[in-house]
């Protein structure tokens, strides 16, 4: 495929690889931790972009796949004694299955109704899991410390999960680009522009949408397993935090929906902003600036929606024609 020569793809891939490799070279635990959260954010945003940016369906419930995948993986490790790679695949498969089952039904809903349904599904799954005894009910699942022995102790297990998240982030970018440049992706984008017209032109929209929904669900499912394995425990409140989905939405809006680079840049800058607010010494009156993290994120998002709805990458592409060749 000649598409693979596109410089826009290589820029994104090298950027993500660079972020991922830096902590591995320096072998610094602090760099690894911040790398982990940045790559997690990038993968979440890029995978959400498949259904939201390419297909035009706004999902507020992306976190449901992350949470359910995480729970599935933790259950496989804790109760069935499976290994981490099997658990990661299991988590991804479970999320894809949920997306498949939900897909045909809720993707019939359009616009705001779909967005509402995704909120409802996240809450339904969260409240159900809180009552589901095999998953530990409201207290969740906590891993025995001995589980980490197989992976060379807890410290080494942290590195293993980090390699996992690097691999997934790189795969996510390649996967997202493959969809964007394929005929299937073209179909998704025509659904985004005009669903009825797409249908008339021969795209089987229910199937295409369900496939897109499944593709966007697999990755958070796998990431959830890595995150909660690293964390050591999983609870309903952490696993299905609606706010986490919304953060991914903000990242996509920041960078530019429907682009390849946008969600990556968005996630990177959102995380940087968050960290610099959290560690800032400034204060407003008696209150330290870090208390205002949410307010600042909200203001930022509002300004973007009102004034540059295409996001940073979209805006650059509109303003500078030459950049269209290199930014995807």
């Amino acid at each position: 495929m000649k598409h693979w020569y596109h410089p826009g793809f290589w820029i994104v891939l090298l950027l993500v690889m660079g972020i991922g490799i830096f902590p591995i070279i320096s072998q610094d635990a602090a760099a690894r931790e911040s790398g982990f959260s940045v790559l997690l954010a990038i993968s979440m945003a890029v995978s959400l972009n498949i259904i939201m940016g390419y297909t035009g369906y706004v999902s507020f419930g992306h976190v449901v796949f992350y949470g359910l995948g995480g729970y599935t993986g933790m259950y496989l490790i804790d109760s069935l004694g499976m290994s981490l790679p099997v658990a990661v695949i299991g988590g991804g498969a479970m999320s894809a299955l949920l997306a498949f089952l939900l897909g045909k039904a809720i993707l019939r809903l359009r616009g705001a109704y779909f967005a509402l349904a995704t909120i409802g599904i996240n809450e339904a799954v969260r409240t159900f899991i809180s009552n589901f005894d095999p998953f530990g009910g409201p207290t969740g699942i906590e891993l025995q410390f001995s589980v980490y022995k197989v992976y060379g102790g807890a410290a080494n297990a942290l590195w293993i999960t980090y390699y996992g998240v690097v691999a997934i982030a790189i795969f996510t970018v390649i996967f997202s680009y493959w969809i964007k440049s394929s005929k299937f992706g073209l179909g998704l984008m025509s659904i985004r522009e005009d669903e009825d017209a797409a249908e008339v032109l021969g795209i089987v929209t229910p199937d295409a949408k369900t496939r897109a929904f499944m593709y966007s669900a697999i990755l958070p499912g796998m990431l959830g397993v890595l995150f909660f394995f690293k964390n050591g425990n999983v609870e309903p409140g952490d696993a299905f935090r609606l706010h986490f989905s919304i953060e991914s939405l903000v990242m996509i809006m920041l960078g530019g929906q429907g682009t390849l680079l946008g969600p990556v840049i968005g996630a990177l800058s959102y995380q940087r902003l968050r960290v610099s607010l959290l560690t800032s010494d400034l204060s407003i009156g008696p209150l330290p600036l870090k208390e205002f993290q949410l307010v600042i994120a909200g203001l930022l998002m509002l300004l973007i929606i009102l004034f540059i709805p295409a996001g940073l990458v979209g805006w650059l592409r509109q303003k500078f024609n030459a950049l269209r060749k290199v930014l995807l």
Binding site: G111, A112, I119, E123, A124, N131, L287, V295, G298
Partner: protein, 287 residues
């Protein structure tokens, strides 16, 4: 389980259901008039709660008098939010208005958490209990239900008996046609958003008279409002009251038959099912 327990549970459910209904009515009115799902709804309910708390516990103003002040402030705040965040994107795709209202939500919740922290608050207000035969009813809840019914009646009188109300209905039917008839649609939309916000604030204020709360409590009622709106039909204010009553009765009756923690599961599953089979709601028209 005896009959008295069941009836008490149902009465409690009905009384709280009406208050849920008014919260949902605010959400519903906004959707009906301008096709915007207000994701700041929960935060505005929380502000209503804190409004009463600050006026009553801080300044000693009677809660029901505070309610009127809170309602007026809510109206102004809604109009303000409309001009700041929504007017520019009202014709943009749904995503824009969803995210615009959500960013307002983040700003309010963020400020609220920084100022009030998330320690639970309680107004400590009580009207005692009223005994009717074997049934005990909390005074504050009864008054809340009565106020809700009064507000609903006033809203209907406003929508169906005044010129401005007629304009709101016209804009909600067909904005372009309304504009051609000389109705200043932007001002009408701002007013509708204001009224929706006012209803949210009133609901919050009433809830604060009998439950403890934090700045995050509104979110629970926002989710309930979604369920209720879908039950009664998005865009149908009277349907919201019916939906509220249904949800209230479910919350009153279900715990008698199953553990309390299963109630939200049933609610959300119901929400999704109705959204799938009849998105226009129980009272909605067929489309």
């Amino acid at each position: 389980m005896n009959l008295v327990t069941i009836i008490t549970a149902l009465i409690d459910g009905l009384l709280i259901g009406v208050v849920y209904g008014i919260a949902a009515m605010g959400l519903n009115l906004i959707w009906g008039v301008m096709k915007v799902i207000n994701l700041a709804h929960g935060a505005l309910i929380s502000l209503g709660m804190f409004g009463v708390y600050l006026f009553f516990n801080g300044m000693g103003i009677h809660p029901y008098l505070s309610l009127i002040i809170v309602a007026a402030l809510g109206l102004l705040m809604g109009i303000f939010i409309y001009y700041i965040a929504i007017a520019r994107v009202i014709n943009a795709p749904h995503l824009s208005t969803l995210l615009a209202t959500f960013s307002i939500n983040m700003i309010i919740i963020g400020l609220g958490t920084a100022i009030f922290t998330t320690t639970p608050r309680d107004t400590g207000f009580s009207l005692g209990t009223i005994e009717i035969g074997p049934f005990n009813i909390l005074g504050t809840r009864l008054v809340a239900a009565l106020i809700t019914i009064l507000v609903t009646a006033l809203l209907y009188a406003f929508l169906y008996r005044t010129n401005t109300g007629k304009h709101i209905r016209a804009v909600s039917n067909n904005r372009a046609a309304a504009e051609l008839m000389g109705i200043p649609s932007n001002r009408i939309l701002a007013l509708s958003f204001g009224i929706g916000t006012m209803l949210a604030a009133i609901a919050g204020a009433l809830i604060a008279t009998f439950f403890s709360f934090t700045i995050l409590s509104g979110e629970v009622y926002e989710l309930k409002s979604f369920i209720i709106s879908v039950l009664g039909g998005l865009g149908n204010p009277l349907g919201a009251l019916l939906g509220g009553l249904i949800l209230g009765v479910l919350e009153g009756a279900l715990p008698l038959a199953m553990p309390n923690t299963w109630v939200p599961v049933i609610e959300f599953v119901l929400f999704i099912i109705i959204l799938l089979i009849k998105p226009s709601g129980l009272l909605g028209d067929r489309k």
